[in-house]
Symmetry: C3
Subunit: 137 residues, 3 copies
């Protein structure tokens, strides 16, 4: 599998393992020292895959989530380094019925370690977010 195919599959696993709550599989898409920046989406900057996993399972462990990624712009800059920008859409449905529906872009870097591509950093920028409260129409 060439690098572009492998990078697309990596992001496919990121989305699928997160939304199906396969947390062990989700952990494996990240470099140990991954930097996740969701400060543009009301969040913070988190360093470390284990820290991010703890953060995420706390926030969405009981939430139905659907994350989709589109039309990546990938650039492989060396045998072990690549960058990518992905359009994204996400939906969160909390147990009380409240919902978040958002749109934006992931700006990412990847590293190849022992033959496998991993997410090294990810920064989320937003185009728009809709929030609907639990009793909303």
């Amino acid at each position: 599998m060439n690098d572009h195919e492998a990078l697309r599959s990596l992001k496919g696993r990121y989305f699928r393992t997160m939304d199906t709550k396969d947390w062990a599989g989700f952990r494996r898409v990240f470099h140990d020292d991954v930097v996740i920046d969701v400060s543009g989406s009301g969040g913070e900057v988190i360093t470390g895959a284990d820290t991010f996993l703890a953060f995420l399972t706390d926030r969405i462990g009981e939430v139905i989530t659907v994350h989709h990624g589109h039309t990546p712009e990938l650039e492989v800059s060396s045998a072990t380094e690549a960058t990518g920008i992905w359009a994204m859409e996400d939906r969160l449905i909390w147990p009380d019925g409240s919902r978040l529906h958002g749109f934006g872009h992931y700006h990412e870097t990847y590293v190849k370690v022992d033959g496998s591509w991993l997410i090294r950093s990810s920064r989320l920028t937003r185009l728009h977010m809709d929030f609907r409260p639990a009793n909303g129409s």
Copy 2:
């Protein structure tokens, strides 16, 4: 065209021919003995492309449908066999105005026959489904 490109195009034709109701084109993406398993989505297991086509045109022939597929995880295991997992989203709008909006994953196998990839089996799992009745808000 390499196998990964051909498999992505195959699934693109699947979605486009279904949603534009090009049923002759839709038939051609399937192996004759395809197994379609939508039991995880309130349906059943259907064997055979002609049987599936009859089932589907009966169910959605008069329904506006939009099906989208995302971030496939493809694996080509031999010269004539491959597997893929696709994230998906679908919308159905019935003539009476009722709507279904769903999210999930297709888990598929493919076979290459006479130089062309075909869908050999497809199983749909769901993350979530919203149904809105005809007089819904």
Copy 3:
């Protein structure tokens, strides 16, 4: 980067630069003589990249937009010519709160000029459009 990868990245830039209103970047994805046909979506046929850019910034310069593209069916017919069909979904949110949400397909041609693929023509067909007025539920 091979032609298929380059064509996907081109369309990725088209969507991203439009939705982030990077109009200089948006201009660079088009051939000077591009033909844009949105007559199937209540619009018209526009010829010329500069004319199209002026049209578009007038129409959506102050509108939040989200455009996503899916499952392209790409065919590279020569060293400098290609075609593609993309499934699409778009959302427009006007300053007054009114919204358009649509689905369809782009039918496109591409040309390679000085080593870079450009959009040569694009025709939008629609599966469905929902319009919600400013005071809608």
